[in-house]
């Protein structure tokens, strides 16, 4: 058992009720997803697929719930709807393009970008 002692201090700390406790962290805690507010201004591909139809142009005013484009994937036509009222500020794909998951498809200028608690 001639294991070398680790030289780096493995301990970290976590805060509960304004007090810091010296402790080790666990993988799942370290890898947890940081929360991000819902961003309505960027429309991303929900799954990989093909853009089969685009209904809007740059500069168009759109309403929440309006059809923006059709993303074909797994032999299904997925309607991508506008999450908010706004104006199309950019379109990054054209009909027939293959897209990967989370690829940015288009951007919207929208007033109520984020839902505020207050």
């Amino acid at each position: 058992m001639a294991r070398k002692k680790e030289e780096v201090n493995p301990y970290s700390s976590i805060n509960v009720d304004d007090a810091y406790y010296k402790t080790l962290l666990i993988k799942k805690y370290e890898n947890r997803k940081k929360w991000a507010k819902v961003d309505n201004s960027i429309i991303k591909a929900i799954i990989p697929g093909t853009i089969s139809k685009i209904f809007i142009n740059v500069g168009d005013e759109v309403k929440a719930g309006q059809k923006l484009l059709i993303l074909e994937a797994m032999k299904m036509y997925n309607q991508i709807l506008s999450p908010a009222d706004g104006k199309i500020s950019a379109i990054h794909v054209s009909e027939g393009n293959r897209v990967t998951k989370d690829q940015v498809l288009l951007e919207i200028d929208c007033a109520e970008n984020v839902i505020d608690d207050n």
Partner: protein, 515 residues
């Protein structure tokens, strides 16, 4: 035919059936570092105790030319035997026969041995190594799974059920292990998932290997589906044997009493292990070993939700279930996973007449958006439910911090603990001194010339007054303040006193725990 000829015929038939999937399939299985099904059973059971059932069962499939195929034992071996003399019923899927696929008669063999286990009131051990449903048998193979799940559920809390994953176990098949009490996995051999890497790739475009998706490590560390993780099949069998020695045969019995052995007090000296500063970490397993017989402790779900420790030990020869916050990891907080882990273990112990020993040292619940959104309310409630519902003897030792909701949840007097002891280092309070001072003396701190100095002073005042076991002791919420080195003696005494405990819950069909 004479008797001799009949026996020769029997031997010939047995030889054929015992060949399993043939030498080629057996070689392939072995090249993967795996034993074949019958070897596994023999490795696990006491020598010469395995008595096989249904060796001559044949499959009943007619379509797709299946009627022309002979599948020895229909891909599963079932029977009875003993482990350290304890009776068990066992089945092992044989991957060398049609990939261990589950067809109608294969499932019938399994459900038959399950029914037998229930009738005989003995533990059931299932060794899973199967490619899944036998597609050629269509809906009959689905029926088979359903019949198994139903029996798993009926047997839950009546006989201990152990699942051993020694190969693939995918799709619907995973739900039988998931319904059982303990799941054993082996590195590089066990694979469990609902949808495999292929489907995930086509649907989501995400590439992941089987090992990364549902390998043994994943289930032992991340999902919590597995309770015991081993590096080899042999190690896995040793773990199963050890577990079996700790648990009773069924819910009407107590676990077998062993000869009492003193803990190794030199290696596990409480006064040396234990830092009195509530913010310093230590390994609570050492604390458990300082009070358990022979310093022996069989930890369950060792790698998952490490901020709480659960497992079996013995005190004066009798099995107890330990539940302890682990200050070494995440300061021992309760969170989604640790609540889940503790609650299920408490319910197992309660169902099988195993007294609970709870060691408390936690600052509270883990703060975080991820925790709230993952449902820490719902999961945390499981701990309260499980402790409140449990009628086995419940003994609680508060060693250091017992703040707020964490204090209540960890088998407090209010959830009807039978004995609550506190060490002089215990701090039983509505919250930690820092947090409490910041709220109670907010105004004084804000208005002070030197707010930080005032804050520190108020923290100290609060600490002196409330960060101790005596406030709770004054209300009778704890029964005694004891020296750490007296703990084992108090545990032994409490267990002796509670031998005749016979608490009844109000009549109900069943409760509705926050699953």
């Amino acid at each position: 035919m004479s008797l001799k000829q009949k026996s020769l015929d029997l031997k010939k038939r047995m030889r054929e059936a015992l060949e399993g999937g043939g030498s080629q399939a057996i070689e392939k299985q072995k090249s993967g570092g795996k034993l074949i099904a019958r070897e596994r059973i023999l490795a696990l059971l006491d020598p010469k105790t395995f008595h096989e059932f249904d060796l001559f069962v044949e499959h009943a499939a007619k379509d797709f030319d299946m009627d022309k195929k002979y599948l020895p034992g229909d891909g599963v071996i079932t029977g009875t035997g003993t482990i350290y003399g304890y009776p068990v019923c066992i089945f092992a899927q044989d991957f060398t026969v049609a990939g261990g696929s589950l067809g109608y008669m294969h499932a019938k063999k399994i459900t038959k041995i399950m029914d037998h286990a229930m009738k005989m009131n003995v533990p059931l051990i299932g060794i899973n190594d199967s490619g899944g449903a036998r597609i050629q048998e269509g809906v009959n193979s689905l029926a088979g799974y359903g019949e198994i799940f139903y029996r798993n559920t009926q047997a839950s809390g009546v006989i201990p059920q152990i699942s051993v994953i020694l190969g693939p176990c995918a799709g619907g098949a995973v739900y039988s292990p998931a319904l059982t009490d303990f799941v054993f996995v082996v590195d590089k051999i066990s694979k469990m998932f609902i949808t495999g890497p292929e489907v995930i790739k086509t649907v989501l475009g995400e590439e992941i290997s089987m090992e990364e998706l549902g390998g043994a490590k994943v289930h032992a560390e991340i999902t919590g589906n597995a309770h015991f993780y081993a590096e080899s099949e042999q190690e896995c069998f040793e773990q199963i044997k050890k577990l079996v020695s700790y648990i009773p045969w069924n819910n009407t019995r107590k676990a077998v009493t062993f000869i009492k052995k003193e803990p190794n007090s030199k290696q596990y000296n409480i006064e040396k292990i234990f830092p009195s500063n509530p913010k310093e970490p230590y390994d609570v397993c050492d604390l458990i070993r300082s009070v358990s017989d022979d310093s022996d402790f069989l930890e369950v779900q060792e790698l998952w939700a490490r901020n709480i420790v659960i497992g079996f030990g013995r005190i004066k020869g009798d099995t107890v279930g330990f539940i302890a916050n682990q200050p070494l990891y995440l300061a021992g907080v309760l969170d989604v996973d640790s609540s889940d882990k503790a609650a299920r273990f408490i319910r197992f112990c309660d169902a099988f007449n195993i007294p609970l020993v709870t060691m408390v040292d936690l600052p509270g619940y883990l703060p975080g958006i991820d925790q709230e959104h993952a449902g820490v309310i719902r999961h945390g409630a499981k701990v309260l439910y499980a402790y409140s519902e449990a009628t086995v003897p419940k003994i609680t030792v508060i060693t250091r911090k017992a703040y707020g909701g964490g204090y209540i949840a960890m088998c407090s007097r209010h959830l009807k603990a039978d004995f609550v002891f506190a060490w002089p280092t215990a701090e039983i309070a509505v919250m930690g001194p820092e947090g409490a001072a910041n709220i109670i003396f907010r105004k004084e701190i804000m208005e002070a010339e030197d707010p930080e100095k005032m804050r520190q002073q108020k923290i100290k005042e609060y600490k002196d007054k409330f960060a101790n076991p005596f406030v709770a002791a004054a209300y009778g919420y704890i029964d005694a303040v004891i020296e750490p080195k007296e703990t084992r003696e108090f545990l032994i005494h409490s267990l002796e006193i509670s031998q005749g405990k016979n608490e009844k819950s109000p009549y109900k069909k069943h409760g509705i725990p926050p699953f």
